[in-house]
Symmetry: C2
Subunit: 683 residues, 2 copies
Amino acid sequence: MEGLYLAIGSGALALLFVIFLANRVLKAEEGTELMQEIGAAIQEGANAFLKREYSVLAIFVATVFAILLALGLSRDEQNPETAYAYVIGALASGLTGFVGMRIAVKSNMRTAAAARDGLNKALRIAFSSGGVMGMSVVGIGILGSAILWIIFEDPTIVAGFSFGASSIALFARVGGGIYTKAADVGGDLAGKVEAGIPEDDPRNAAVIADNVGDNVGDVAGMGADLFESYVGSIIATLALASTAAFYGGEIVSDGPAFVLPFLIGAVGIVASIVGTFLVRTGETTNIGSLLWSLRRGIFAAGLVGLAGSFGAIWWLLESQNSLGMTAVWNVSGAVGVGMGAGVIIGIGTEYYTSYEYGPTKGIAARTATGPATVIITGFATGMLSTIIPMLVIVAAVIGANELAGLYGIAIAAVGMLSTLGITLATDAYGPVADNAGAIAEQAGLGPEVRERTDALDSLGNTTAASGKGFAIGSAVLTSLALMAAYAKAVGLDSINLLEVSTLVGLLLGALMPFVFSALTMEAVGRAAQDMVEEVRRQFKEIPGLREGKPGVKAEYAKCVEISTNGALREMIVPGLLAVVVPITVGLIPFLGAEAVGGLLIGAIASGSLLAITMANSGGAWDNAKKYVEAGAHGGKGTSNHEAAVVGDTVGDPFKDTSGPSLNILIKLMSIVSLVFASTFSID
Amino acid sequence: MEGLYLAIGSGALALLFVIFLANRVLKAEEGTELMQEIGAAIQEGANAFLKREYSVLAIFVATVFAILLALGLSRDEQNPETAYAYVIGALASGLTGFVGMRIAVKSNMRTAAAARDGLNKALRIAFSSGGVMGMSVVGIGILGSAILWIIFEDPTIVAGFSFGASSIALFARVGGGIYTKAADVGGDLAGKVEAGIPEDDPRNAAVIADNVGDNVGDVAGMGADLFESYVGSIIATLALASTAAFYGGEIVSDGPAFVLPFLIGAVGIVASIVGTFLVRTGETTNIGSLLWSLRRGIFAAGLVGLAGSFGAIWWLLESQNSLGMTAVWNVSGAVGVGMGAGVIIGIGTEYYTSYEYGPTKGIAARTATGPATVIITGFATGMLSTIIPMLVIVAAVIGANELAGLYGIAIAAVGMLSTLGITLATDAYGPVADNAGAIAEQAGLGPEVRERTDALDSLGNTTAASGKGFAIGSAVLTSLALMAAYAKAVGLDSINLLEVSTLVGLLLGALMPFVFSALTMEAVGRAAQDMVEEVRRQFKEIPGLREGKPGVKAEYAKCVEISTNGALREMIVPGLLAVVVPITVGLIPFLGAEAVGGLLIGAIASGSLLAITMANSGGAWDNAKKYVEAGAHGGKGTSNHEAAVVGDTVGDPFKDTSGPSLNILIKLMSIVSLVFASTFSID
């Protein structure tokens, strides 16, 4: 049991570190009265969204709980405890999102205030806020799954925890994605394009909703997405433990095959904390040196994590259980494969989306022939960018499987996600920096402040792109592991594509991401349209708003409400689809359990490719615009810049709504299948 | 043998009908001297392209021939005759393309000339030209495969014929797609956008290349694509005949399971000829009545084909071989399923791409908020439009399989393609009408002539969109049948996704279409850039050209050469990929034959979805622009129109290069695997 206690200890350590980081943020200076006022409006908007979201979520969670409980009580094969684990998973993920976002919205004005004194001070605040999100995810994730494991000793029950987390992720990532882009696109169209006022201008009624959206989508949404991956990878490992070479023959909570994922997670938490202390910067706003300040932390965490994992694996397998060095090397290899895959995917993503490199520069060059060629080249770039991550995933799957079978694939996913505490921090830090810049703009702070927040923001954009790549990569590996766990749970020996029912399942599965993406993209369009009309209405009906008369204020709360309503309304159909389709396919006797296997793999294959294409073309368009704005191809105010803006706007729902939502789709479909496996038809 | 002789007779009949239609075209009036001059330039350009293309092709074909021959002579499992069948298939498809295009480029000026007299006269010429293409495909297709079948009595040898056809299709569809869009996009950017001269203006040096491109891409390319599907579906049926309920236990050329596809083809040829005689119109240029004039022919052919197939199947199975009415009903059902699927896919495509309906109108409405929202909505529309065809294909696969197993799936594909003689005619007619309009414009014919050619062109656009849907649908069904034939040939009992190697194959297969699309899209971009530079150069260096000084002419041939070079250069990498990847996966021992099965299905799944998305979003953007040009949302000259033009330009390579090229990719990968099956590693 020592391994499991260590995991619980590491979870507690992570939460203590959350308190330490949160305190660092909260004791920082809040800035001028105006800054505090803007900050308060963002907090209020974020709270309003969370409150509404959580009340809809409560209904959803209660319904699923009732179904799971009814199933559990009426069928021998299904445990009623899964229903409780589900609720606990939902609460855990919800709590994580709440903590992360609460600190994020308190950090933005403090980061702006700190930016008046210096770059490093601002970075420390913003990064601490990201760290709160990252450490909450790993801390609560490992605590929840380890405690449930110790209590129930049953992977199918702990899968309920993962399913609960998935439900929250659906709302947070899909709803959050719609929220943030409705506000962003709608606000830009009505403000920047129609009214001709700058971005982040306080006269734009959507500006607070936009700021709230950054937190909703990129902090809470990203956090819930990765919480799901983190927990999912651990649970897949538990479910596949009986296929491990050193499985003891019975499910016992402290069997080494079961303890292993927790132990790797515990090492990753310590490694992430070590890495976090290494993040600091000088006062040059050079992006390269800033990037290095974050990388130093990530790389250190990776090295500590890898070495520590090897030690921990040796301790567990060889020192405690005398399972031999082959097992130690094999499992350590799988961890290394997962970690390596995460790093290469991150680098590949950066190559395709950063304007330091050819692809994004190429898109910028196409601005000379207008928006159409920008779109064509950007989309082609996104499709080409699937090669590296897909080959890396394939190589990781082969490598991990050679080393330790299906169990190895799950362990590779755990390894990839083990240092999530710091990698997520570098992501979740971005929106805080972005918001800080917006507050600096709205509060009229000096140009040197804006320059610092811009540098931090731009760093955030770079890390956001590779963070999305990492999120997709980990989602694919986790889904594959969950799919294998599903096949194991339902007792499938084969998922045979020469069976027409399985082939049909696969084709339907491949269809799902296309439909899901279309629905989420249209959702953004509709919600953004509502936003445009509200901003227009306020310009028309509030005297003096457009002219910026002192004391006249836009009704920000109205726009927050519109984004909130849009997000919650528009996510119903895609959300239901993700849950209902796998269950339906599983229940139809002609299709059944094997067809569900096809369905999952079809969805994972086309979903991952589409997600990478959309995320990376979106990221590349964004940065091509930034490249032009930095002076290339004529810079701001030229028709080239206009063309680049079109690309960026198209990329917004690609990279921030539809692309990331696909991570949720493939994981949710997999976990739903795993949880409902016992009800499916078998030939 | 009667059934096979009937098939050969029907093939001969089709070729006689080709001569009849060609004569109808050739004896029509050629128009004014200027028109003939423009027509001659287009013919010359087309010949230049064909000549260059065929010389590169010859090298490709010779290389593959040598490999196949060497394999056949060195390995017992492989027949050297496959190599000869390969060359014959390549020659047959090449001949088809040559005939179709030769008549098409002679029809355009004649159609323009006939349009001076009336709409019906012009329609008859243009449609006759389309009929030449359609009837050549089915005539040569059925003749070639039937004769080879009679001679060799071996499906694996006849598969060589299909492989030969695929090689031509690769060059014609992928190369042709790059050619046509390089000329179109490059010409528009340099002419319409930069120089501000109208489309089809003779001062634009790319105008002839653009006209040639319509024939190269939409006549020869589409023809070769469907020739491949037509032949591929017959060959898949032959290869799967041993799985039919009424397989006699040995491969004999006149076994009913083998004769059946030829007989259905023969009935379809007769039905198509009947239908062709029903195509005529009055003098109202209303699109609805024009569409009906074509539909009458297609529907009549469908009904005659369905009833005739039932009769023929009854004759073959019950009357000749006393196999019982159950077999007759089952096989007729499979034919009906295939035909029905083709019709529904066509209607679904029309719903999503015609501006008579909501989706395209919705895209047009988004022009109010600029090009970005046009792109987002169009892309979402394209993705949503995958639902109908995918569900139809799934239903067809299930239905055909229930009726007659895997053999039924192949028969459904044969049924869907049986009336290709007329359905392809309605497609291949489009570019002729388009060219006629361009000639009318360049030759300065009166507005009533232009109105008629515009009406015909607009009809052609509508049929082109549903034709593309049909091409994809038939490609998917044919590829699935070929994949099943491959599994049968290599002796696979299962393609098990729980084997990591198969899973890896599937993921790599799903990746292929993304890479292929990206490469073809970037190819268009690069070739179009070369074109822009050439047009610019001519404006600069040829005195009086820009001003339209009488007697000053652009150097059209230079632009034809640029498009030709671009097409041939840019198709090398994607073309090699399609051939090399399946063979490599098959040869690697760790992957091998089963992984190739996964590869094929992965490619078919993601390729079909991507192809439909790209073709339909492209079609919808095209028609949204036309809707605006017809006066909606302010009409021409507004910023709304500009936004719609951006959508149309993005859609060009989507719908005319990358989307259709994916048909080739999935069929070529399948046929390559089938032909090389005997060399693959098996566990």
